[in-house]
Amino acid sequence: MKKILAFIFAITLGVMIILSLSNNELFTDFGDTNHYDGISSGYITSEVGGDEEPALVPVNIVTGILVDYRGFDTLGEVTVLFVSSIGVALLLGVASPKRINLNFKPNFMLSVGSRALFGVMFLTGIYIVLHAKTSPGGSFPGGAMIASSILILYLSNDTFRTDVSKFKLGKSLAASGFVLVGLIGLLFTGEFLANFHPFIMDTILVLIAIDVAGGIVGIIDNFLTEERV
């Protein structure tokens, strides 16, 4: 009975969503958006950033929005990831951590193969981060890919645990560095996170990548630890 009610209610809500969208002036039909009239046109034609040189405008508009036009939002989001990482550490943190015994011993193929895979993934991650201005991807997937590569090494190697803590330090430093870069912009042009030199955007990309990688590695590290008995 309860399930039927829930089903009816959920379906009603879905129908309501679709109906309210179909007859709405504010909301265009599927595939018929008029974003060239809205705020996005400023981002596409780079009018929002002012009279910027073409060299400063990234080819990938999404990266431009994330790092330049809405850099402050991204700072907030990096903070959210940072805080959730801290939250997981608080919830699962134990006094004397030890790796969970995962009931399988990595055999020869796995340990060698994971090392090879680690190199490939790590380099791919770095590539994605560094070429975020001209190709799809960016610091978020790049950072996550670096984190995944480390995770693979982590699974195949029992003694790897101690090195992970260094990554957490990197995460904190990167978050502070983000704010620092923003303040540099404030100092030189009077605008927080101002994009006045190509180097600024690269730095921010690398810092976000380090922060994301550090945050995710921290989360997974906490998931794989337990109290030393």
Partner: protein, 112 residues
């Protein structure tokens, strides 16, 4: 089509949230809902034209070529990363619950 599929995903996620009593299942429903929502937001900025391309284009060409809306994409990009954070928090809570009650089912945990 994808618009309706995404709304259906949202509905399925909500249905899962309403009916499930298992913590892991609840988090799974949330993830389904989140995927549906992400697709939905992307469809808002989609331009169903042959010549519309992904928003990766140099500044000189932008005047002559139509691109899809990049803003929803940027927002969804951040939403995905935050989704990992929320899932991680939820799962760590579930883990703590399991440590205490030795079950994932809310009915068997009892009122406290």
């Amino acid at each position: 089509m994808l618009l309706y599929a995404s709304v259906l995903l949202i509905v399925i996620g909500l249905y899962g949230l309403l009916t499930n009593r298992n913590v892991i299942k609840i988090i799974l429903s949330l993830n389904v809902l989140e995927i549906g929502l992400n697709i939905f937001i992307i469809t808002v900025g989609f331009l169903d034209l042959e010549e519309a391309i992904a928003p990766i284009i140099t500044l000189q060409q932008r005047a002559s070529v139509i691109v899809v809306d990049p803003l929803p994409q940027a927002l969804v990009l951040t939403a995905i990363v935050i989704g990992v954070g929320t899932t991680a928090i939820g799962l760590s809570l579930a883990k703590k619950m399991y440590d205490k009650y030795h079950t994932f089912n809310l009915d068997e945990m009892g009122e406290e």
